[in-house]
Symmetry: C2
Subunit: 199 residues, 2 copies
């Protein structure tokens, strides 16, 4: 339908997550008419990322050196490890400024449907980190969905016998949300996790 | 928040139309973890498009040569010109297989708010094409919104004194749509444009 190279670009853009055929077409035409300097900036950002970004040998987070900025920061508490699924979860938690420990990125969650088992995640690397005996608490911050919960349960069973304190992020009503719009599962969790008001 | 080069990529992706900060982050992390060959294909599609795609000297559509595939196709009727706003409109019309004439891409629509006047569109180029006297009908297929209608009216006033048949695509109810969900303007247009049922 389109001139060959335009169609190639639309196809490549359509492979990106969350970009449907219509958006791919819209982005392609935008780039076609864009200033070549803008397109060059995008091309070099893509090239740079693939050339320079590695994954931290310790925690699996994105890094520009052998270790990521968090693992190489001596001010971060090495006794606390927060286990997350993906590097973007690290960013979300860092934004809260609540957590002063370190991270461990699993690279996904257990999902029998998608054929992801414990061996496909960075669980062995986590066990290696625990061998030093420095860690006292593992906070499991996998997603509050089926796969994330399965992963949390699996990890808890694995880690508790090692005498570690294993915790899970609280589930409940989102702050600023509206009770009547909460789904039943979330509302049920909010009841289960209710806390005493000390006033 | 992110390692420098990752943030650069997120920023560049966020400049694309329809890509918000969350999608940009999602796409960036997808590319980070993607096979380098996939990223290379995207990079070369981008580079190729900027290197090879030009705009047809005749109609303004995207082209890989001096003229686009439609303008250089002798089977297309040179007596009919369909005027559209953007190259993507050409593709939408081609998909219908209803039109066997040629196109003229204006490069936008008249919009006083965005400071786009008739001189910013490829109207002068259209007049040059008409000088040959070969064209008998101009079908105005600008968008059925404020800017598109203003452009259609402007062109009609300009072209009609030249003795050309100037037509506009029909407005009305979308096929497969539901009458009760049609907005008043569309429904009003559908009444205005009602046709005699010859049964």
């Amino acid at each position: 339908m389109y001139e060959g190279v335009v169609q190639d670009l639309i196809d490549e853009l359509g492979r990106l997550p969350g970009v449907g055929p219509k958006s791919a077409q819209r982005i392609a035409f935008h780039l076609l008419q864009a200033d070549p300097a803008d397109v060059n900036r995008l091309v070099s950002a893509l090239t740079e990322v693939k050339a320079k970004v590695r994954f931290c040998v310790t925690c699996g987070n994105v890094a520009q050196a052998e270790e990521c900025r968090i693992c190489s920061d001596p001010r971060r508490d090495a006794a606390l490890i927060c286990v997350v699924e993906e590097p973007k979860d690290v960013v979300a938690i860092e934004r809260t400024r609540e957590f002063r420990g370190r991270y461990h990125v699993l690279g996904g969650a257990i999902s029998p449907i998608e054929g992801v088992g414990p061996d496909d995640l960075r669980i062995r690397e986590l066990m290696t980190r625990l061998a030093s005996g420095e860690v006292t608490e593992i906070i499991i911050a996998t997603d509050p969905n089926l796969e994330g919960e399965a992963t949390a349960t699996y990890l808890a069973r694995l880690l508790r016998p090692m005498g570690l304190r294993v915790t899970r992020l609280a589930s409940g009503l989102p702050v600023g949300g509206d009770l009547e719009y909460a789904d039943e599962v979330t509302l049920g969790r909010a009841f289960e996790g209710r806390r005493l008001l000390d006033v």
